[in-house]
Symmetry: D2
Subunit: 181 residues, 4 copies
């Protein structure tokens, strides 16, 4: 599926329609943890985006975005990774749409561990090795590659927005990395 198809009128939501939908339906998302791996598949670093919040704070984030109408999960993954890491990242999109976890973000805090004040979003989360050159685009200030031991730091994870710290912690556990000592 190419960009044009996704942006075509039938699939497009103007801000008002999206606002309408957000009050009435769970919105399907993909979340991605970009990684660098060695030739035995071991993760050597984890990519975190740096963004400025409207309040002017710098926060770390994972790749995240909405699945569009008539878009496959794999195409949504590729589109959002390209949007955030640039067109030369060469992501290894998984052969199956089965995520490593499902993160349920609720507008009400405390229903699950994940919180999104804007909406009820259900995110399929994937760990995505990228082999190419990454250049943060859009509104990201920078992309930082951290070794798993640094990414496992609780203080870092607690700084992350919207439950991304919990998702990162889960990803590291899934990959077999211990918590920071």
């Amino acid at each position: 599926m190419n960009r044009t198809a996704v942006d075509s009128h039938e699939n497009w939501l103007d801000p008002e329609d999206l606002e309408f939908a957000r009050r009435r339906l769970p919105i399907l998302y993909v979340n991605a943890v970009p990684t660098r791996v060695d030739d035995t598949g071991v993760v050597t670093s984890v990519g975190l985006l740096l963004r400025a919040t409207p309040q002017g704070e710098i926060r770390r984030e994972l790749v995240a975005g909405r699945v569009m109408h008539h878009e496959r999960i794999r195409d949504a993954l590729q589109r959002h990774i390209e949007k955030d890491l640039g067109p030369h990242a060469l992501p290894q999109i998984p052969a199956s749409p089965l995520p490593f976890t499902v993160a349920e973000y609720f507008p009400t805090p405390g229903v699950t561990a994940y919180h999104d004040p804007r909406q009820h979003a259900v995110a399929l989360a994937f760990i995505i090795p990228v082999a190419g050159d990454c250049a943060p685009r859009q509104d990201a200030l920078d992309l930082a590659w951290l070794p798993p031991a640094e990414a496992a730091d609780d203080a870092l994870q607690k700084e992350m927005l919207g439950g991304h710290g919990i998702l990162l912690r889960h990803a590291l556990a899934h990959l077999g990395f211990p918590p920071a000592p």
Copy 2:
């Protein structure tokens, strides 16, 4: 989350709004394969719903339904199982929202193996042991419990609507049951 909360005005979609959303967003579903298990967890039978199509044909189906706004996946599973199998089914809702597979139903045939002419739906699919008494409700005519070897029959699976046959086949593979000889 109780039924009242889900049916309250904020979460409710009238048919026109649902129609609007279906043309603009992927709709989040849960799919469930009801099973009976023995005390070592081995599946001894699989539950299939019998429904009459608008054309008057009898077809087999799995449990399936929409996740509502502000509803957890586990609550959607429980609600749809209760709706289809009655209030005394005693389903074992999984401790984690991770499905055994994700089925992407497209309105256009051939994009994936799953097809739903009404909409683009993304279903998180679960195998759900039920320990209690089941009584089909709603528009289901009956509930048939088949041993895995019968459920593995290709002819049966091909009769099922909307890709449910493929999902059943995947569930049986996941459970370790071989195809029918």
Copy 3:
């Protein structure tokens, strides 16, 4: 498979033979995180065994044990849960042998996050809801049921032996519980 079959001569390893095997082969284990769940499947507490080490320290552990020759994974799970939690625990053995994670314990520290000085063990790890009465048996001093928020405490996890703390942390992440604040 009943106990007798597993203990029969063909399947039995005397201590010397087990020692021989441990120096030459990875040994297959199951690990289990016993849980209590509410009727929507949410984990309300996690069961940890208390054991005295040979040095007289009290340590917390998960259920763990070897898979015997000609024993199914599900039978090994049931046998070890019965051994550690007693015969009335009523565990929900999973319908599929797919674990939530695979823990590779190496005799050399640092190869993976898991360490077992006695052997190279590969453990298939499962989260197992138990519905019945539990009574610790064998050499366990006690069984403590902790709410997930307490089990998520880093200090508690770091006290656990042989990488079980890392496995518990992973299980809690898999279940959607955040780290302790």
Copy 4:
């Protein structure tokens, strides 16, 4: 881990010792389904090895082999893929050791869907995209790349040895491919 380490005396099993172990312990295996993928991760073909049986029949097989003492699962995967597909296959070894399924092969037919007359083997099964040039080595006669629709053919799967047909069927279901019509 390099080959030398694995082949060193400590880890080596002479045929007699292996025979001894096979009568007393489950033997840990890896199974791999080699695939070619397009740039959105969709599997475009599946690699099957052709081998001559001792009876002179030609049979199709997946990549399979034992995990050695002190060898990580990822290293065993890489070693067996290199052994069967040659040194230039460039396999994408997964970042996590979690398989897509666990196949329990019993020497007694009928205990599970998988059968291995030589031993009780427990195989962690992975779908492995390979990006490089493949050249069958060892005793494989050839490597055939089939499109998923051909690999989904029941007749082909039933010809495969030792339950590999069932594993292939499961892999195709996991990847979202329907059975052959």
